[in-house]
Point group: C2
């Protein structure tokens, strides 16, 4: 390639190398009473890389991880690529057969699993046909299931060594990780990230979430989700402190906010709802930066968190875009708006982050839709922060990249100021009597009712209109409201045809591990009857 | 090349494209009463690019600029590469023959010059043989000299057009600018920057100087100096406001600090001395970030600025490293140190910035010197933020890159914590009786005397010892001190053999346009007599 005096391939490995040299004694990872310095972080990654090699992992091989947000998962984000291998961080909520599919599809040589997740893999362990390594986390209280077999993480590391390895990559477009999309339906696809994209997206996370070496980042976002939106690498790059969190527990989150001096956290809006409505919620004595994505945050939760002392950074992206791709940049004039109008601006998905090529909303022929805030189109992206493809799936890759743009499958509008706003997943939109109804719009309207904690709207079959919206509502603890009161609230705010015919009150909504509401479960239940009716 | 859906060449052009789309109405450039929005900034750059093409500038051609820190210079940083040309920003303090040399060596097709600098180029204008374009800045009061000829900037722009051009580059390793080193001796060499390095260094400036979209950056650093340490591109990337400054005037700087709400500025320590000791200097009502480099800042000026409300970010680099390459990262423990000890830590050049490969201090055989804070060696660097070479000078390029590392020519030590500290330019070190004396160390010691404003130490010939240190001291206004008092102050602090034999009091020190003290002028004066004596 080029003269390497003035060209070095970009890789997140360089971030840990630097922080271990610059901040060797600073706490890189805090987990309960454990404190891991940057020097130890790098040493553990080095030992892991050697151990993987000694276990037969060759350059380009995949290594699967099924761990919650514990230190070993952070170490994997550097140790696996340091062995020139590819990290496959698997969703911890998946069922055994799904984990088996991912291990087999990715051709992983090794699976590192938390003892607490043995119940998931025990039924399929024998069929995996790969080495299993078990991490036993004293904090979990879970013991390894002998039926799973394999070796302990300590036994794996014992195969390692401390000889330094180069924190470098030969080609920056080599794959660093494969993230299987936690698709709500269908077989998951393996999204490939390259070192260059991971490096650039990490810098963008630092820039837009305003991380500094003083950052104390709370891991409320799963690391298996887009490698924690590349924050596994970003917080390491800046020399901040990762504060690990095994599971989403509102009391524990508030304890850490107070006792660990948290400055930043990321999470889906449902996680933010949990935090804002927890019993120990209280005004913070400092501003923290909360970066949120995964679904449009409702103006209500934006308002709640602002009152507690958080500054919200609203981003949007997909597994295919290394996590966040857009950011809702705050314009000077917005601070002068009344809170409701401002929150409405902040709830939009925004504009491309600094390292992106920018985002478009397009008609099926890939021409721009008018920037009128009304015409719906598909959100498409391109550039260094778009996946290099689906692993071993050229057909799906070709479909996703049709016309030279990555197709998000998300529907949205383009506002006159260039900001995009999601209106729905293509499959979530409700078509009622030929009119499109955005479930997101209906949800935000219902959510603005003071008694409502959470809501999901789906289309249900209707003899005359084809589909009609139906709402599933979780009320705030202690609050009361009738379906008619909520319907009246909605009628006063949006077009009549968008008002749900039925409003069901439920105790909770089905969610993915990242906190996304699984509308397909609600929808399936409604349509199952319908289909049987048609067939019957 | 690669599939461009997931690979886009890195270029700072993308930064203005994005900010013009995201912040079209925000003030990009403030200069006196002029306010240029981001939309207009991009429009002007587009018009300039078309105008350059219409004037015969072809891809890869060089375009020379000789302007102070005015808006047209910022526009050039985007308009010239948008025309696929290479910007050659020339030091405004150079003499006519030097400007002529740079224009001829770079083969520039066009020279854009400020009317206020006509006295510089008038004597050589006829010999240049290239098109001259004159910018007349009403704020300067300078009128164009008819002898220079050529056309006005307005006439140039009239050749332009508003048709959008792609804010992109075919190969990220194409050259974006050539910066001629303002070498204190010898013919200047043309340092080539590529789009990739400029892009990455811009992101590093944002990260380490903690720029945000609210940044209001005061242009105390010349834009012709390493393209303003890439801050021309960085502040544009983040969507901050550039506050232009035609010349270093302490009263005007303080007026802008107050009236423009400046949040950031960069400058050599001598510029900081000017600011800190100006008549209107006063405590700021907010923290501003002052990024400094060019010479090690003395603990005294660090202390002064901290008291005024500035947070110092100390960086170090060379024209060959896109400006800053290292940063003195602040360690947790330093805040607990007493101010003097802390300032001493902060005066070190530090560690590689986040986008670099890291810095080394080496012996002549390129092996690391011991990290003992005492053994001197040469500072060497490599990676994406090292120039791609000297323009049309393969021999000098080869010398600079001997052994695969860029040789800075700076001598320093490596501390046990991995921080480097400069001790001298190779040519500034004093060898006295076989002992090396760091002029920087002697200068810092003299500078800690309360009566001293500025000091330079050079080696002067000595019959017995070969060389001995001699100090040139500028006293603070109203302060008094005798040479013996200062010598006693130094004797109490460093080894006797390092104490200057002679201390001269002078009204001012010779400086380069970027505020670096020109020791060679002091040295030449001393050695001229000596040489004539030897020869005589």
């Amino acid at each position: 390639m080029a003269d390497d005096t003035w060209f070095t391939p970009l890789t997140p490995l360089a971030f840990l190398d630097r922080s271990a040299r610059v901040f060797p004694d600073r706490t890189a990872i805090a987990y309960g009473d454990r404190r891991i310095s940057y020097a130890d972080f790098a040493a553990e990654a080095t030992r892991l890389a050697h151990a993987l090699r000694a276990s037969g992992v060759k350059p380009g091989d995949r290594v699967a991880y099924l761990l919650p947000n514990i230190p070993e998962m952070l170490v994997a984000h550097f140790g696996v690529p340091l062995a020139e291998a590819v990290l496959v961080a698997v969703n911890t909520r998946l069922a055994g057969p799904e984990v088996r599919h991912i291990c087999q599809h990715s051709g992983a040589k090794l699976l590192v699993v938390d003892a607490g997740l043995h119940p998931t893999i025990a039924p399929v362990a024998a069929e995996l046909g790969i080495a299993i390594v078990t991490v036993t986390d004293p904090a979990s209280g879970a013991a390894a299931d002998p039926a799973v077999g394999g070796m302990s993480y300590e036994e794996l590391l014992a195969r390692g060594a401390d000889t330094p390895l180069p924190w470098a990559v030969r080609d920056e477009r080599d794959t660093i990780s494969i993230n299987y999309t936690s698709g709500t339906t269908g077989q998951p696809k393996g999204v490939m990230y390259h070192h260059r994209g991971a490096y650039l997206n990490s810098l963008a996370e630092i820039v837009h979430s305003q991380h500094t070496p003083e950052s104390r980042y709370l891991w409320t976002l799963p690391m298996f989700h887009c490698n924690g939106w590349c924050t596994t690498w970003a917080v390491t790059a800046i020399g901040g402190t990762h504060v690990c969190l095994r599971s989403i527990d509102a009391n524990e989150i508030w304890r850490l906010l107070d006792e660990e001096g948290i400055t930043h956290l990321n999470g889906a809006p449902t996680v933010l709802v949990t935090i804002a409505n927890a019993q120990p919620a209280h005004q913070l004595d400092r501003e923290i930066i909360v970066t949120t994505a995964g679904a449009p945050p409702s103006p209500t939760v934006i308002g709640q968190l602002t009152e507690l002392g958080a500054r919200l950074v609203h981003v949007y992206g997909l597994t295919e875009t290394y996590g966040p791709y857009t950011v809702c940049e705050v314009q000077d004039g917005w601070l002068k708006l009344d809170p409701q109008a401002r929150n409405k601006m902040l709830a939009r998905q925004g504009v491309g982050m600094v390292v992106t090529d920018g985002v478009r909303v397009v008609a099926p022929d890939l021409t721009d839709v008018p920037r009128d805030g009304a015409t719906m189109g598909e959100v498409v992206m391109r550039g260094n922060n778009v996946m290099s493809g689906y692993f071993a799936d050229p057909a799906a890759t070709e479909r996703a990249f049709a016309g030279g743009w990555f197709h998000s499958g998300d529907l949205g509008v383009w506002h006159p100021d260039g900001y995009i706003e999601l209106r729905d997943r293509a499959k979530d939109i409700i078509v009622s009597g030929g009119e499109n109804i955005s479930t997101i719009e209906v949800e935000a309207t219902i959510d603005s009712h003071p008694a409502v904690l959470e809501v999901a709207v789906v289309g249900v079959p209707h003899e005359k209109w084809g589909e009609r919206p139906k709402a599933f509502v979780v009320l705030r603890s202690g609050a009361t409201a009738t379906a008619e009161e909520i319907a009246a609230h909605v009628r006063a705010r949006i077009a009549r045809f968008k008002v749900p015919d039925t409003i069901d009150f439920v105790a909770e909504l089905p969610k993915t591990s990242t906190g996304k509401i699984q509308k397909f479960q609600l929808r399936e239940r409604e349509w199952k009857d319908r289909e049987s009716r048609i067939q019957g």
